[in-house]
Amino acid sequence: MNGPLIVQSDKTLLLEVDHEQADDCRRAIAPFAELERAPEHIHTYRVTPLGLWNARAAGHDAEQVVDALVQYSRYPVPHALLVDIAETMDRYGRLTLSKHPAHGLVLTTTDRPVLEEVLKSKRVAPLVGARIDPDTVAVHPSERGQIKQTLLKLGWPAEDLAGYVDGEAHPIDLREDGWKLRPYQKQAVENFWHGGSGVVVLPCGAGKTLVGAGSMAQAKSTTLILVTNTVSARQWKHELVKRTSLTEDEIGEYSGTKKEIRPVTIATYQVLTTRRKGVYPHLELFDSRDWGLIVYDEVHLLPAPVFKFTADLQARRRLGLTATLVREDGRESDVFSLIGPKRFDAPWKEIEAQGYIAPADCVEVRVNLTDAERLAYATAETEEKYRFCATTATKRKVTEAIVRRFAGQQILVIGQYIDQLDELGEHLNAPVIKGETSNAQREKLFDAFREGEINVLVVSKVANFSIDLPEATVAVQVSGTFGSRQEEAQRLGRVLRPKADGHQAHFYSVVARDTIDQDFAAHRQRFLAEQGYAYRIMDADELLAGEA
């Protein structure tokens, strides 16, 4: 017994990466275990009921799972755990959702007591219609998502065999002239298409848009794409025009300013969740065409109301795209149950090893508050404390030093507080992009940055997502949205797009020592640290001295 895998009693699996069987083992456990952490030596996977059920849905059975664990485990696997896995997997498929020729959507069971049990639940009662026979009950077609979610919570996941509507056909092809889908992108598209609906997790800069485009080319039907903001919408449009057979006229933008509905329509979450007099006027967008595919960009940001709409869209194929499926509100499982299970997940370091994202050097620079600042910090109101330490004047000096060090490279300075950014912009003599900057102005500045006309750009959190800045090689983060892990990852993502000359990217996080800034920073870095990005810690004095 000397396998690479250690099975823990809390159902986590520890995989020793340097072991010779590590790759085989990874392949064997990937169908049912979620990769939770991937630091340098030992990767942590977690076996969850959801993961086991997804494995069942993908055609794996309990025996395979048990075999994989027993085969690769270094120590004997506790019997109770194996029994538990078998029992959990056995719960899947007792209930099935299917299309009945006469009654429409029905829930059938192979195990009558289970059906009785779930029908007794108060939460299921409003979702189902008449009892057709002892083993079958009608389900309101509009509640397909809701009932799946509810059954999942009750621990009796339903196998959904009701299929998908094809939607209105529309020819879409990838135009692979001079470029090709990367192997992992192809794999992601295949996995998604095979599974029907689901989420694809790829690191920032690894080309999620192309996975979307590839899926559209598979679907060849009208597509609704939901994105976070207008700039992102334009970039999607730009990319689709460039990479697919779609023309500009076939792609509509549905945002605050334009309301176009075309065979491929890109809408922002914001416009969908706009509420007037208690109703969501733009919801009808979902019904305005017979969409064959719905793409959710940055699915980890999916706003709560969209969850509800999505529940009603279970008959359509859904693709979720994200780099960081961590939500500080803990609703990851809702994403899985409504959009679909995770269909593809690539560890960041793996993609980096393949050369598709740039290697990054992550540095946490610790600055000391001056004595006066420390006193002021100590007396600050609790809610003001973070702002106070995050915007300390010393950070400005450090930022300037970093910018000077990398003079000539494309540098992004990212922060949370506008006055801090304005001040930095002034000192660095760089333009500032913030909420009030108009879209036209933003695009002009981005273009200039892209062209190398500007080297340094100071941005607020408006630039957190989906802005394509190909040549940014250095990012300096001076403050953030408290302890948001996904924000940190997204910001690192700004510099991960592969560089033309293959050189390293730099990510600096400037943190005030001995303050809650440091605590938040530790929390923010957790996701990346778990993805194997080891932060180096530097003293500001060291950095400033190195410069002098």
């Binding site: 823990q8 520890l14 340098e40 942590t44 120590y75 004997p76 506790p78 019997h79 020592r513 194997g532």
Partner: protein, 912 residues
């Protein structure tokens, strides 16, 4: 032996039968029924008497296996005495049943050995008490489902009626009832004549008999039975027992059953079947892994309780909340937590500390235990588990007084537990290596070995079944079994003989079970044919206790079958010792210790070797890819928090955990050195930084206790004070150039400094100089004492007027002249009494006329009073009235008014 000489004299009583038994056979009896020798009987007569007492017989019957019990039940419905042939007929039926025939001598032998049956094979007698217990009666239906005999059923019947029946079945009439009943019985027991008789009975009537044949034998009839019933009653095939009730006589039922007393005799114990088979290697490894987890869990439990465990409840035991908390800490369900707690307790590793505020804590034995090698530590737990009578499974149940049983509390002892545990493990040992048993088949086997008497309870709720279930799950937790199958070290726990004897016979070997198998003293004897040619394969599940009894095998009872000569009926002199099933500890302590040590030796190489290194990662975690050496584990446990447990341990470093290590007296340099030494990989920079960062701040602020201080701007003066010998008693220490801290309280310090010739001033908390005053001692706020006056205080005017009004009103009530018309028999001053209707009428009239009334009234406390009222209205059972006595408007419930009388006009017109 003496049996030959006495052979001719058949014993006439149990005492005589016992007297004919030799020492070995008596020893077997006493081993099987140890209650007979406490106290030691003076002679065999007394022994026989005691063996016939109800309590002892019940105890003996409860320890029979199902077939022996069925045999006893059959004897109870047979004649007294019965021959072996009669018994065999009852057990095997007219058609015979080879399995039953093979097993019966053994079962009978067991009954004889236990002195439940005595007499030669032609005169088998069940001891009377057993017969009373097992024979059918209307109150206690027999499991055989048979009713009373014809003789018993006709006991109260008129001779005329009996003669009618005799005539109806075509027998000649006799001159008395006794002979009539005898001839009727003879008819019913004669298969051929009986068949002929039944041939004439129409199908409808036979159907009635069919319904009663397997019991219960009683049926209800109306006063005027249907013809098909009438016919049966006429022929005595049904006999009336009480008005409206009929019974199927035993003889008739036996005829219909083809002679069988039991519908389904169970001569062969149900086999324990395997549900899955794993390789021995997997089983042993899994069990060893679990054994290691068991050790870790017990250590973790006691570590958790290290700094003061939970309080002991006043009634003893652990509170439900503490058990819950422990379960959460161990990350196991509560029943499992209860198991670990009880196990540690049974192994003597934890106990109550006996202090005033009683708490649970580890014992000194725990520290010794910790020093043992892992395999020995496990052996200690396993031995404690095997022999413990405390059963954690019942925690949470309620006792007879409806109190919840708590872990570590009283009332958890179940004396059957060690025996059941041993038995279950022995059954597992009988399976081939690596086979996991089907739990239900184990339970069925146990139920066969120890059936419940009386109405068959098939549920899971009897104690032995529950104990067996717990044994199976606990054995897995403890690593005695792995993947459900008994491991090699688990097998060794049963003692040296167990594995050899067990595996020889296999799981399905027939036998009468551990309780009765006498033939096979060890696996080797099992297949040997007995003298009567009866092949008696030994049961596969024998208890290993036999191995030290090197008696030659000898089937106990078989001879008479073939040799009807007056061979002494009791078991032959060399009868092998019978297995003392009721013995609580199947192995003697010394044997158990040897077996446990053997198990530990087997287990030791399977346990994972502790590691001396961990893997450190940049996300501030450390992974120990296996169990760690204790010092390393202890240190890491302080330096980092455990995030996940199992085969490996995942630790997470946090500022708090690093601070904990620093608080424990480590320096940052120690920690760096420790991590470098034990890490296979370079120490990640963030971790080094974390330690330095925490260390930098650690101890920056210092906290200590001082009672007073001395403050002075002049350093020199403080130097002088410190240097002064007289200041030694004040406990002064210099905290800063201008501050001294003192252990003495401010008063003493002031005195001391004054004595040294200084003139210190006291300082208040705010730093002001306190001006000393002569007496500044104050009590807390106090109220002045209340004066105790001689009499009541002088009344003031309002009080006086109120008092007078009240007095007057009362006076008015008492003295007002009544109207003569009012029927008021009461004397003056007595409250009036009127009927309810009269009261209502009077009051209603008073409302109309505005008159004032005199009423008797009982208040809510039951005190009677008289009042003068002027009713205003009457509604809903209440009178609202102006009360002259109280001088206000009040409401009275009508039902509380005892009586009413009108007042004379002049009195009413003149209220005070």
């Amino acid at each position: 032996m003496s049996g030959d000489e006495k052979a001719a004299a058949a014993p006439r009583s149990l005492a005589e039968a016992l007297r004919q038994r030799d020492d070995a056979s008596l020893a077997a009896l006493l081993r099987a029924r140890p209650d007979l020798i406490t106290p030691v009987p003076t002679d065999l007569t007394q022994l026989a008497t005691r063996a016939g007492t109800r309590a002892s017989v019940v105890r003996a019957l409860e320890r029979l296996d199902r077939f022996a019990l069925q045999t006893a039940e059959a004897l109870a419905v047979a004649g007294d005495p019965a021959s072996y042939g009669e018994l065999l007929g009852l057990m095997a039926g007219d058609d015979g049943d080879p399995e039953v025939a093979a097993a019966l001598p053994r079962a009978l032998g067991a009954l004889r050995e236990r002195a439940l049956v005595w007499g030669a094979d032609d005169r088998l007698r069940l001891v009377r008490t057993a017969r009373e217990l097992l024979a059918p009666s209307p109150q206690h239906p027999s499991p055989t489902g048979l009713g009373p005999t014809v003789q018993e059923a006709t006991a109260g019947m008129s001779p005329g009626r009996i003669q009618e029946i005799v005539a109806a079945v075509g027998l000649p009439s006799t001159h008395d009832s006794v002979s009539a009943v005898a001839s009727l019985t003879a008819l019913f027991t004669d298969r051929e004549r009986m068949s002929a008789l039944l041939a004439d009975v129409p199908a409808g009537s036979l159907e009635v008999l069919d319904r009663l044949v397997w019991g219960p034998p009683y049926g209800q009839v109306t006063a005027d039975p249907a013809p098909r019933l009438r016919l049966l009653l006429d022929r005595g095939l049904l006999l009336p027992t009480a008005p409206g009730t009929v019974v199927l006589p035993r003889e008739v039922a036996l005829h219909l059953r083809a002679g069988r007393a039991h519908r389904a005799p169970e001569p062969v114990p149900p086999a324990v079947t395997a549900s899955a088979t794993h390789t021995a290697r997997v089983v042993d490894a899994t069990a060893a892994g679990q054994a290691y987890t068991a050790l870790a869990t017990v250590e973790e439990l006691l570590k958790d309780w290290d700094e003061g465990g939970p309080n002991v409840l006043r009634a003893g035991g652990l509170s439900v909340r503490d058990l819950k908390r422990t379960a959460v800490a161990l990350d196991v369900p509560e029943p499992v937590a209860a198991f670990w707690v009880e196990l540690a307790y049974a192994a003597g590793l934890l106990a109550s500390d006996g202090e005033v505020d009683e708490r649970y804590a580890a014992t000194p034995a725990y520290d010794e235990w910790l020093e043992l090698p892992p395999a020995d530590r496990w052996a200690r737990l396993a031995q404690a588990w095997l022999t413990a009578t405390r059963t954690p499974g019942v925690v949470g149940d309620r006792d007879a007084k409806d109190r919840t049983l708590s872990a570590l509390g009283p009332g958890l002892d179940r004396s059957a537990a060690p025996e059941v545990r041993h038995r279950v493990l022995a059954l597992l040992a009988a399976l081939p290596e690596g086979a996991a048993p089907d739990a239900e088949s184990v339970l069925a086997r146990l139920r066969w070995e120890r059936p419940l008497r009386g109405p068959q309870r098939t549920g899971d709720h009897d104690l032995r079944t529950r104990l067996a279930r717990w044994t199976l799950s606990e054995a897995e937790l403890l690593g005695v079994t792995g993947r459900g199958a008994l491991s090699a070290h688990g097998r060794a726990l049963l003692g040296a003989g167990a594995s050899a004897g067990a595996s020889a016979a296999g799981p399905a070997a027939p036998g009468t079970g551990a309780g009765t198998d006498a033939g096979a003293a060890s696996g080797a004897d099992a297949g040997r044919p007995g003298p009567d040619g009866l092949t008696a394969p030994g049961p596969g599940d024998k208890l290993p206790v036999h191995k030290h009894h090197p008696h030659p095998p000898h089937p106990p009872t078989a001879e008479p079958l073939h040799d009807p000569a007056p061979v002494p009926a009791p078991p032959p002199p060399t009868a092998p010792p019978h297995d003392p099933t009721p013995a609580p500890a199947p192995l003697s302590p010394a044997e158990q210790a040897t077996a446990t040590a053997a198990a530990a030796r087997l287990l030791a190489p399977l346990l994972p070797e502790p590691l001396d290194h961990v893997l450190l990662q940049a996300d501030l975690t450390a992974v120990a890819p296996g169990p760690l050496r204790r010092p390393l584990a202890d240190m890491l446990g302080v330096l980092a928090n455990v995030e996940s447990k199992g085969g490996a341990t995942v630790y997470r470093f946090t500022p708090a955990s690093v601070r904990r290590a620093l608080d424990a007296g480590r320096s940052a340099a120690d920690l760096h050195a420790f991590l470098t030494e034990h890490s296979r990989t370079p120490v990640p920079q963030p971790l080094a930084y974390l330690i330095d960062d925490v260390a930098r701040k650690h101890g920056h602020l210092r906290v200590g206790a001082a009672s007073a201080y001395v403050r002075c701007d002049d350093d020199a003066l403080l130097n002088e004070i410190l240097a002064d010998k007289r200041s030694a008693g004040l406990g002064l220490r210099r905290l800063a150039p201008t501050v001294l801290a003192a252990q003495a309280d401010p008063g003493t310090l002031l005195e001391g400094l004054r004595a040294m010739g200084y003139a210190p001033a006291a300082e208040s908390a705010a730093g002001d100089v306190v001006i000393a005053r002569a007496d500044s001692h104050r009590t807390p706020p106090r109220t002045a004492p209340e004066p105790v006056p001689d009499g009541p205080p002088a009344p003031d005017t309002p009080l006086l007027s109120a008092a007078i009004r009240a007095i007057r009103a009362g006076d008015l009530a008492a003295t007002a002249p009544r109207r003569p018309a009012a029927a008021d028999p009461a004397a003056d001053g007595e409250p009036p009494r009127t009927s309810a209707a009269e009261t209502l009428a009077t009051v209603q009239a008073a409302v109309l006329t505005g008159e004032t009334l005199w009423i008797g009234y009982v208040n809510a406390d039951g005190a009677a009073s008289q009042r003068v009222i002027a009713p205003i209205r009457v509604e809903g059972g209440f009178v609202t009235a102006y009360d002259h006595t109280a001088d206000e408007v009040r409401t009275y419930p009508l039902h509380r008014i005892t009586g009413v009388a009108e007042l004379a006009e002049e009195a009413a017109a003149d209220p005070s």
